[in-house]
Amino acid sequence: MRYAETGYNLEIDLTKGDIEKVMTDPRDMELYLGGQGTAAKMLWDRVPPEVEPFSEENLLIFSTGLLHATPAPSATRSSVDTFSAQTGLYSHSLFGGFWGPELKHAGYDKIIFRGKSPKLVYLWIHNDKVEIRDASHLAGKGSLETAELLKEELKNPQVQVAAIGLAGENRVYMSSIEHYNSSASRGVGHIMGDKRLKAIAIRGTKDVYVAKPAELHEICIRQYKDIYDKGPSVMTHSHDETWHTDVFAWGHARERRKGFWNKELEEEWKSVTDSVFVRFNGCFNCPIDCHASISLPGQRPYFYKCYGKLTYAMAAYKDVKFNYNMLAVTQEHGLDSFSTPQVLAFACELYEAGILTDKDLPGFPKDSGERFFYLVEKIVRRDGVGDALANGVYWAARQIGNGAEEYDHNTTKKFEQVPLKLGALNYPYFLMYATGEKMNITQIEGSFPQNPIPDKEKRKLFIEKWEAAPERFKKYYMEWEPRTQPSIEAAVNIVDWNETMHYIDDSVGVCAFVSAFKGQFNKSSYHINNYPKFISFATGLDIDQDKLWETARRNRTLIRAINNRRGLRRKDEKPPEDHWKQRIPEIEAKLIDEYYRFKGWNEDGIPTKKELDKLSLGYVAEDLMARGILTDNEGASSKEASAEKKE
C-alpha cells in the first residue's frame, strides 16, 4: 500500500505515441520525497549532458507534490522540470491551481514526456484511459481559450487543463504553461512547444490514501485556520503599491522612482482595478485567495497571479490599466510576466539607442505602451526581429550585436532577473543570486527577513513568535543591526535555510506563499518544525527535522550536480554587475568560498565525493569522476572540464 503518492508515473513517448503506466520505486520517496526531487533524479538518470534541450531525448516532466490530494491545505504546486534552451541548464517551474491534485486522483504522480510529436497534439487523461489526441484545431489558440475548448470537446466541465499559447508553440524562451489562475512561467513552456504538445487535460476520480488519517486530519483542520488567519498575498489584495513602485526599477530594470506613489494614484489605480475585478479566487484546497478573475469589457476573462500586477506597467512606464490590458493578451499567448516585460523594455532601449532601427521595426509606434503590444505580437510569432527577441535578452543581444550586449545588464546565467537595483551589497542576497539553481530569486529567498527591525524590543517580540525558525536564526536576527550585514557565517546559514524550505516545498508541492516565502514576515504556516508531522502522517515515512533538512540538501545537491555536468562552474555564479552600486570583490569571493565549503562543494562549486556519498548520491560521484569533472583528489576542480565549457 502506497500512501500520499499513487506509486505510478505516466511515461509518454510523443515520437512513437507510446503510453506506459510505470510503477515507481518506494525508496525514491524516502530519498527525494517527490515533485522536484524525484524529477531531478530522473533527469540525472536519463538525460546525459550531451542532450540538447530541443531534442527528442530531452525530457519534460510534470510532477505532483508528495502532499497533493491529501487533506494538507495549500498543497497545489505542480512542478515542471526539464532542460532549458535559454540557459542550457536544468530548468524548473511551478504552478498551482487544480491540475496536480487532479492528476493524482487520476492515479499518477508524474507525467514524463520524451520525444516529439509529428504534429500538434494534446494529452487526455481520464483515470486509466489515456489518449494522445490531435490538436491541430487548437493551433494558435490562446492558453485559456484552449482550456475552455477542451472542456467542451471532452464534454466534461470538471476537466483540468494545462496548455501553452502561441508563444509556446513557437518555442519562445519566455513562454509559459498556463492553467486557470496559475502558470509554470519560468523557462519550460518552450520545451512543451518543441515537443508539439499543446495541452494536457485531466479528469481523475480515484482515491488517494494517507497513512495516519486521524492525526493528519487533526493538524490539517488547525492548518486551515492558521493559513487563513495569516492571510493571502497582499499583492492581489492591497491597493497600496508604495513598496513595488518605489523599490523596484522601472523600464528595463533601470530607474527607481522614489516618491512616485501618492494617494491620488492609489485612488485612480484602485478605481481601475475595481472596474475590471470580478472576484478573488484561490487554488485547490487552499483557504486564501491570492488570485483574481479579471474581466475587461468585451474580452474573455482571465485570472492573474499575485506577481503579474505591475511588471508590464513598470517596464513600460505605464499604469495599472495598461498592465491589465497587457496581461489579457500575454496570458492567452502564454508568456512569463517577469522576463517578457524586460525583453520588451530591452528592445525599446535598443531602438532608442539606434541599435534597432525602423528597418527592424517597421511602423514602430511612438507610445511605449503601443510599442509593447507591437513587440509582443512579433515575438510570439518569431516575426522579424521578434525571432531574436523570442530568445530572451541574453541571446537576443548577441544575435542583434553591434553593441546590444551592453544592454544585457540584468541576467544571471543568461536568465532575466527581477528588476532590482540597490545600493549596498547584501551578503545573503549576493549568495542567492550567485548560486541559486532556480534562477528566480523569489523561489530562493523567503524564510529569513530581508532587513532587521530597527527597534531591538520589537525584534525580540518578532523572534518570540517566530515558530518557523530554528534557534540559531533567532540569534542571527537578534544580533543583526540596521545598515549592517550579517556575518558571513550567518549569511551562509541564512541562504541554506531559505533554500532548504523551497526545496521541501517543491518536492511536497506546497505553495511557497504559505511556507518558504512567508517566513520573513513571520507568516509561514508550514515550516521545518511542523513539516515532518505533515509528511510522516500523510506518507507513513518516519522523518524528523534533521532527516528532512538532509533530504532537501540532497535534492539541492543533485540539481547542482546536474548543472555541473552541463558545465556550470564558479565563474558563472555572479549576479548582474549593476545589481548593487557598491561591490566588494574580496568579500564576495569569501562568501562564495564559505558557502561552497558549507555545502560540501569544492572551490569550483562542484559537490565533493565525500559530500555526495554522505547524501547517498554515490552514483553521482561516480559519474562526475568518470567524466573527469571530479578528480580523485576531490578538492581541486577539473581544469579541463571548466575549460571545455564554451558559449
Binding site: G17, V121, K129, E131, I132, R133, D134, K155
Partner: protein, 186 residues
C-alpha cells in the same frame, strides 16, 4: 488519431426549458396555462396550484423564479436550499424542482399526488411547452441541448403517483385498498 476511443454514450438531442429569472415579470401566465393544459378534459379548468410550473416570488426582495416540477423524491433532503446570489438570498428551496415532503409545491391539492413537468408532450403533444409559448417576456425559452447521459427509466405520471403512495403507505396497504375499491365498484 484516436477519436473513436471516446466513450460514446447515446446522445439524444434534448430540449430544455431555460429560465431567465432576470426577465420574469411575475405574471404567472405559465401557471395558468399549464394547469389548463393538464386539466381533464383539456383546458376545462384552471388552477395554479395544480400547475407543474410555479413562480416563486417575493416582490419586496425582487425574487421571481419560474420553476418547473422535476422528479418526485421520497425523503426530504437535509435542510432547505438557501442560496445567496448577487447579494439576493433565495429561500423556499428556490431552484429545486423536486416535489418532496418538506415543501407544498408540486403536489395536487386534491389527491396530494406529486406533479411533474412533461414538457406538454402529453396528448396532443405541443411543439413547445405552453408555459414557454405564453411567456412573451422570454423568461422561459425552449432550447436544444446535446445531452450525454445514460438513460434512466423515465417514469410516467401514474407510476410516479403509485410510487409516492407506496412509499408513504407501504405496498401492502396500497394493494389492499385498491382491491377494496374494485369490490365497491363491482
Amino acid at each position: 488519431m484516436v477519436e473513436q476511443e471516446i466513450k460514446n454514450k447515446d446522445k439524444p438531442i434534448k430540449k430544455v426549458i431555460k429560465v431567465d429569472v432576470d426577465k420574469c415579470n411575475g405574471c404567472r401566465a405559465c401557471e395558468a396555462i399549464c394547469s389548463a393544459f393538464h386539466a381533464e378534459p383539456k383546458y376545462s379548468s384552471t388552477n395554479p396550484e395544480k400547475s407543474k410550473i410555479r413562480v416563486l416570488f417575493d416582490p419586496i426582495k425582487d425574487i421571481y423564479i419560474p420553476v418547473h416540477a422535476g422528479e418526485y423524491t421520497e425523503a426530504e433532503c437535509n435542510g432547505k436550499n438557501v442560496y445567496t446570489i448577487g447579494g439576493k438570498q433565495y429561500n423556499e428551496c428556490a431552484f429545486c424542482r423536486a416535489p418532496c415532503p418538506s415543501r407544498d409545491l408540486f403536489k395536487d391539492p386534491d389527491s396530494g399526488l406529486p406533479l411533474k413537468c412533461d414538457m406538454c408532450l402529453d396528448e396532443p403533444p405541443q411543439d413547445e411547452p405552453l408555459c414557454v409559448k405564453w411567456c412573451l417576456s422570454d423568461a422561459l425559452t425552449y432550447e436544444e441541448v446535446e445531452d450525454e447521459e445514460e438513460k434512466g427509466e423515465a417514469k410516467d405520471e401514474m407510476e410516479t403517483g403509485l410510487d409516492s403512495l407506496i412509499n408513504k403507505h407501504g405496498l401492502a396497504m396500497v394493494m389492499d385498498s385498491l382491491a377494496q375499491m374494485q369490490e365497491e365498484k363491482s
